[in-house]
Each structure stands twice: as structure tokens, then as C-alpha cells.
């Protein structure tokens, strides 16, 4: 079992090898590099765990919505600005991740803290290191692949895909 430890960098993500990826995301703010990182996260066939901390913009929401499991530190504060929300496609990504009502609660907030992120379900409670160890196994990777396909398939199409995944 190996865990790749990276920062919010598309280049590091491309080179990441192992059974799972642990991402440190302190003070994440929008840039083309972050946008590229988030797009690549969404197609990575490996379990990913992110720990977001510090003063962030809405890019933090995109990172948390794109990983297998997201965590935040108690000091996190996410400011939610429309420009970043739109640039990262969060008006579709967050409702898909959380449901429409909870997503709107986040999207219309000026800022969200750790309590709010955990309460809406975007961030997990508990320990990220434990989570990444739990996810660094082949069966978790299969679930990640299945989830990725299910997000863009009908239930029947997703079941047919799952039936072909290696046991």
C-alpha cells in the first residue's frame, strides 16, 4: 500500500503513483493551474483524499467536491465569490455532489468555515491520514471508477459497467 503525497499541482498529480493520493491544499486560490488540477482530479482512477486549510477562495469547494473524501482543518475559511464559482463550474459540480439545497446554501454564502463545510457534508469529520490508509486498496479504486462512470450514466448503464469491473 503506497500513498502519493502531493500539493495542488496538476504536474504532481500527473506523476502521482501509488494506491491513493493525499493532497495538501493550504490556502488554495483560483488559478489556471488549480482549474487544470481539479479537472484532472475528476478523471483520476485512484482514491484521493484532500486536506484543505487556511484562507481559501471557492477553489477549495471544487477540490473538496472532486476528491473521494475531503477534510478541512479547523482554521479553514472559504470565501465564495461568483467569478471563481463560475470559472470552476461549481453551479453544476456542487449540486451533483451535495444536492441542490445544500449546494445553494454554500453558493450564496459569503464565506464558510470548517463547521459549515462539515455540516453540509462536503468535508468529512475524522482523520485524513486514517481515511487515506483506508482508501489505499484495490477495492476502493474500483469504487472510485464506478462513481466516476455512474455520475455520467443511467443506473442501468452504470450497472453494466460495474459488472465488467474486475472482482
Amino acid at each position: 500500500m503506497t500513498v502519493a503525497r502531493i500539493s495542488v499541482s496538476a504536474q504532481e498529480l500527473r506523476a502521482a503513483e501509488g494506491d491513493a493520493v493525499l493532497i495538501a491544499a493550504p490556502g488554495v486560490r483560483y488559478s489556471p493551474e488549480v482549474a487544470s488540477f481539479v479537472r484532472r482530479l475528476a478523471s483520476l482512477p485512484l482514491p484521493t483524499v484532500a486536506v484543505v486549510s487556511g484562507q481559501c477562495d471557492a477553489s477549495a469547494l471544487a477540490v473538496l467536491a472532486s476528491v473521494s473524501l475531503g477534510f478541512v482543518t479547523d482554521d479553514v475559511v472559504v470565501s465564495v465569490d461568483a467569478r471563481t464559482v463560475l470559472a470552476l463550474g461549481l453551479t453544476s459540480a456542487l449540486p451533483a455532489a451535495l444536492g441542490g439545497t445544500r449546494a445553494r446554501g454554500l453558493l450564496f454564502a459569503e464565506s464558510v468555515d470548517a463547521t459549515g463545510l462539515r455540516a453540509c457534508g462536503l468535508a468529512q469529520s475524522g482523520d485524513a491520514e486514517d481515511a487515506v490508509k483506508r482508501l489505499a486498496r484495490p477495492s476502493a479504486a474500483l469504487v472510485v471508477r464506478s462513481l466516476r462512470v455512474a455520475a455520467r450514466s443511467t443506473p442501468d448503464q452504470a450497472r453494466l459497467y460495474d459488472a465488467e469491473l474486475p472482482a
Binding site: 462512470v149 459497467y161 469491473l165 474486475p166
Partner: protein, 255 residues
Amino acid sequence: MGKLTISRNDPVAVVTMNSPENRNALSTDVLVELADALDSLDADPEVRAIVLTGGPALFASGADVRQLRDIAPVEYAASARGTSWRRIGALDTVLVAAVAGYALGGGCELALAADLVVAADTAVFGQPEVKLGLVPGAGGTQRWARVAGRYAAAGVVLTGRTVDAFEARELGLVHRIVPAERLVPAAMALAGEIAANGPLAVTAARAAVRRAEELPLSAALEFERQQLLLMLTSDDHVEGITALLDKRPPRFTGQ
């Protein structure tokens, strides 16, 4: 058969394009070799369905652009490319494309020439010819329009953008998406499912479906009706219905 490998598990044959050093580029030599191989399988009555694949990593990256850069129109028109594409389009045997990774330009047109496309979730389709100052020349503009409609086709062909397996499925090109490592087995299973049906009926139904691309509706409906009348003269249809009534699997003879 240098750039292709052919395996048989009758009634299904698998043709694998095998030149990863140039991403399965469809050079003239490869196209001719492919047309020869498919023609040969098409003529074999033991083969009822063919799977065409580039393996679990990539399908085909299109024409060898170096060949196209300096070629004169007259030379291109006289080359074996056009004939090879027509031969591939004229097969009678069911062709299932199993696509992983890139299917671009001629690679995409090859998938479009198939009856059904099984795609890995890694598959990417596109007609990037306009980005090179060219247009698709092996059915890309016409078959995209017939598969996905004129506006969707324009979105793909005029921009040169790529579509992933999921969008290709929404557009009607992809029949089923599977994990890349199960691509060929899944395509073979689909081909086997088709091959288990009445062979005459499959050939006739395939011909009728293909006529939808060529004929006005009234003529195509007449063609379909003629195919049904032809099937009513076959032993296979008697066997198929008898087997259903006897609650047993049919034993088709192709007669």
C-alpha cells in the same frame, strides 16, 4: 500481416491494430492490410461477427499526417486509401469496433464505419482535420451527421474538438462503455451475442439498417419488407420459431 493481428474464436474474429510506435496511424499500407484482412474474414462463412480494436490503450490516431503533407490530389485520388475505405464500408459481416484511448480522424471514421461501438471509459473521439487545414475524407462528415444529427456533427467536425466516451454515447455513437481492461472481452461478448442469432436474419437486418443511410424512407421500408419476405423462405426462421415454442435454444444453419 505486420501491423495487424487476427485471432479467431468462431464465429467471432478479432482484428487488432498493432503499431503502438505510431499510435496505430492509418497509413496507406495499414489501411490496405486492414481491408485485406476484413475482406478475408468477410468471405469466411464461419465468421459471423468481427471485432476491430487497437487493444486496451488506444484505437487509431488517424492518417499518417507526414504522408498527407506533400501528397498531390491526383496521387491521393489514385492511392489505395479510397479503395480500402470503400472495401471496409462494404463488408457484409457485422463489425464491432472496440475503442480505447484516441480514435481521431481516420481512427474515428473507422469506428463510425462499424455497426456498433463498444468504448472504454478512456475513449476519445474526434475529427481534428480542420485544425490541419483538411477535411475528413473517409466518411467523418457524413456518418457523424447520420449518427448524431447535422448540428452535433457540425459541433465536432467544424471545431475539431474531441468528445469523450460519455458524450459519444449521448450522441449515439457508442453502444456501451466498459472498463478498458475488459474492452475486448466485452466487445467479443457483444459480437458473440449477435453471432448467436440467425445468421441470415442478422445479415438481412444489418443490410436494412445500413440502407437507412442510403435510401429515402419509402425505398428503405420496401427493402426491409423484401428482406422479411426472403427470411420467410428460410429454414432458419422455421427453426427459430419452433425453438421458441419448444422452449429450447435454436440451432440455426444459415439456410
